[in-house]
């Protein structure tokens, strides 16, 4: 299945996650099911909702979100 990098922080006003065609492992088209991923190792199933030139918008199923297993520090953010 095609893998498409996405920033899971970046949600547009329509609830879709924008990304770029060039960040896909192979070119994607509307209606295609893909795996959205980031470099933290997080993944989720997604549907290609729109393709406009090089811009792709994904409908991500956050119910399938798989967190990366990471060791992290536990310091509290400073103001």
């Amino acid at each position: 299945m095609t893998r498409v990098w996405v920033d899971f922080n970046s949600l547009d006003g329509e609830g879709l996650y924008p990304t770029l065609q060039k960040f896909a492992s192979s070119p994607v088209s509307i209606g295609e099911r893909v795996v959205a991923f980031d470099y933290d190792g997080n993944e989720a199933a997604a549907l290609v909702a729109a393709v406009d030139g090089g811009v792709v918008r994904l409908q991500v199923d956050l119910g399938t979100f798989r967190e990366a297993l990471q060791l992290v520090e536990t310091s509290r953010p400073n103001s």
Binding site: L11, D40, E67, P77
Partner: protein, 138 residues
């Protein structure tokens, strides 16, 4: 380029970004990104935002008088990275509430592909990642 360019970018984006009013955050507002601020994620996010809204920027969550724990829960990520609007400005960036709350945009003001120090400055402005408090409530 620094804060002035980042502010000009924010003003340009005001006219285009989802056609919503932008809100400049106070310096003490928490800004939280899901994940660990990986260099490649930030670089790609900036490139993607340049393509979609015409500005070098990355997304995060923020809000006026909003605890960082509440902002963290907006993210699906198991870890989050936090800072404040003031620290981002001190590092040469601008940050505005944009789109649907708690979404905010951190304007970089420069092409990070041409100047990797932009991304390094951005990463350095965040504290070390911590577990997302959301995990405790699952």
């Amino acid at each position: 380029m620094g804060l002035a360019e980042a502010r000009r970018a924010a003003r340009r984006a005001r006219r285009t970004y989802w056609k919503n009013e932008l809100v400049r955050l106070p310096d003490n507002a928490y800004v939280v990104r899901g994940g660990t601020c990986q260099f490649r994620d930030l670089l790609r996010s900036a490139e993607m935002t340049r393509e979609t809204i015409g500005e070098w920027a990355v997304s995060a969550a923020s809000g006026v008088d909003t605890p960082w724990e509440s902002l963290a829960q907006a993210h699906a990520h198991g870890t989050v990275s936090a800072t404040t609007a003031g620290r981002l400005r001190s590092a040469g960036f601008e940050v505005m509430l944009t789109g649907k709350p708690p979404h905010c945009t951190v304007y970089l003001g420069a092409d990070p592909a041409d100047n990797e120090s932009v991304i390094e400055r951005l990463r350095a402005a965040f504290d070390a990642p911590v577990p997302n408090p959301r995990r405790k409530t699952k």
